[in-house]
Symmetry: C2
Subunit: 320 residues, 2 copies
């Protein structure tokens, strides 16, 4: 086998990705989506080149127009000369690991733009696996020199909270009728937002959604010098007449300035690293713990052993 | 302190709950919502009296009409002479632990019916905490002699998958325009359904939702003698003219017969016990692991240590 023609170091691939080689970038992203010794090597090697990108999370209930707004944001940031990458993360499906990519087609107008990179990711593994491969993909894009990385997720609830731990700025998208403010509050969405966008602002009930969010924000307390999430109305339709997109860009930039000046950026990135390390350690422990659980599970299902005793027995076994 | 007037054994409380003492039941449920040695004692003591109840999960996107359908189901099962309990579980909010209870008011017509017990649960703790207290609450209701326990959850995605692991039968509720079939598919909802209900069937696009689900089911493969999820249309409005509710009850009974005859019930309950034990063991491990992560997280955030190395160091420390 001729090993000369094949890149032997991750640095080579990263260098190629930095210089705009989309294929090298795609190879790196495929590599870090899976668990392997080679993946760990790549992450370790590209680590010194990370830390420069801004990471924006964009989330909301199904149907509020996330993909359309993402497309409009990409256009606005591109117009400002920035290199933009989009990671579209589908919620974990523990039963098939599959993902439907239909929405992506809406963004294909940017697909031929070399400074925009769009990647749909299927999330892997068990509950909480949504967050597993994404930080690695973010590192790759960061090392590849993108100025801005948008993580778009669909879903309501835990998926959004997972986004929050990965992004520097979290945009929560609402729309009248679809995932309204009360439902969003139930899902814990309002608690993770740095910026609110009420989309489809031309629809009759949009102002009610704005009022609901405003009332909920009024219940919260904001520290002096802290960040108070703005509420932006938009009618993002992926065209030159997009309303609200320019304001969102301005507010995102203001949030970034605040993050840097207040020390919050450093705090968030520390929390993110903490979450990532903990998740990795727990994944290893989960493998150890689930090995011999079957016999105990049968006794718990029969009602002859209580689950706490069973858990203790597993932990004792795992430590041997 | 006079200890005579106070019940000293969980059995007493369970006996009272079984005989219809709603206050005793409420006390037991409050007790098992929290982590405590007393909670473990209660679960252990009531374990022999569990295993008789049927557990039905009802889930779907925000706004599809879950609470209304739950109310209609309660009415139908009550008319058939069964004792029914409802657990309404709100998604985890790791930031406040709070829950909004607004929807519950719609079910208050059943609130004075002694054989119906309705409980809203706030889910506790970290991501995945949604599933933590619910199995314990289900055990209490099971031991208290309810024939049918309905677990209703709001949200799209991981929360639904968590419901699936707790219920014997999973009903996925869809509605035209709100959380349509494609969005539900993305969230992994279609993969956990034993029965589909397309609600608001009087709306114009309802038949399109039915077709979408049918087309997706046609892509799946079903084993001979297996269960093929039915698609039921409904216009549940919590009144005597509810369309589709009687059919849902019939189909749920058919699913229960299939579960018992095929051995699938035993398999599911085993898997459920397995999940519960694993989650308990992991929660203990998480506490150990997160103790000394801060210094390592700072180095990972700086890019001077890779996360895999950090995770290994934590595991080594935790084992000492």
């Amino acid at each position: 086998m001729n090993t000369v023609a094949r890149p032997t170091h991750a640095e080579n691939e990263v260098d190629r990705a930095r210089s705009g080689d989309v294929r090298a970038l795609a190879r790196l992203l495929s590599l870090v989506e899976d668990e392997s010794p080679r993946m760990r090597e790549v992450i370790r090697d590209l680590l010194p080149q990370t830390g420069q990108a801004r990471i924006v999370g964009l989330t909301g209930a199904p149907g509020v127009g996330k993909s359309t707004l993402t497309g409009a944001l990409v256009g606005a940031f591109r117009a400002a000369g920035r290199r933009v990458a989009v990671l579209a993360v589908d919620p974990t499906s523990p039963f098939t690991g599959g993902a439907l990519l239909g929405d992506r087609i809406r963004m294909q107008e940017h697909a031929t733009d070399e400074e925009v990179f769009i990647r749909s990711m299927a999330s892997r593994g068990h509950l909480g696996g949504l967050a597993a491969a994404t930080p690695r993909a973010v590192r790759v894009l960061d090392a590849a020199g993108f100025d801005l990385i948008i993580i778009e997720t669909v879903g309501v609830g835990q998926a959004e909270v997972a986004v929050a731990s990965l992004a520097d700025s979290v945009v929560v998208l609402l729309a009248p009728g679809l995932g309204d403010a009360i439902q969003a509050a139930k899902a814990g969405l309002l608690e993770v937002a740095d910026l609110y966008v009420v989309n489809k602002a031309d629809k009759p009930d949009a102002q009610q959604v704005v009022r609901d969010v405003r009332n909920m924000l009024a219940l919260g307390s904001f520290e002096p010098g802290g960040w108070k999430p703005p509420i932006i109305t938009a009618t993002a339709a992926n065209g030159p007449r997009d309303e609200g997109v320019a304001e969102l860009v301005t507010r995102l930039d203001a949030h970034w300035d605040w993050l840097c000046a207040s020390g919050e950026l450093k705090r968030r990135r520390h929390a993110r690293a903490r979450e990532e390390i903990t998740a990795l350690a727990l994944a290893t422990l989960r493998d150890r713990v689930t090995k011999d659980v079957d016999e105990l599970a049968a006794r718990v299902a029969d009602g002859t052993l209580d689950p706490f005793q069973a858990a203790e027995e597993i932990l004792t076994e795992a430590e041997d």
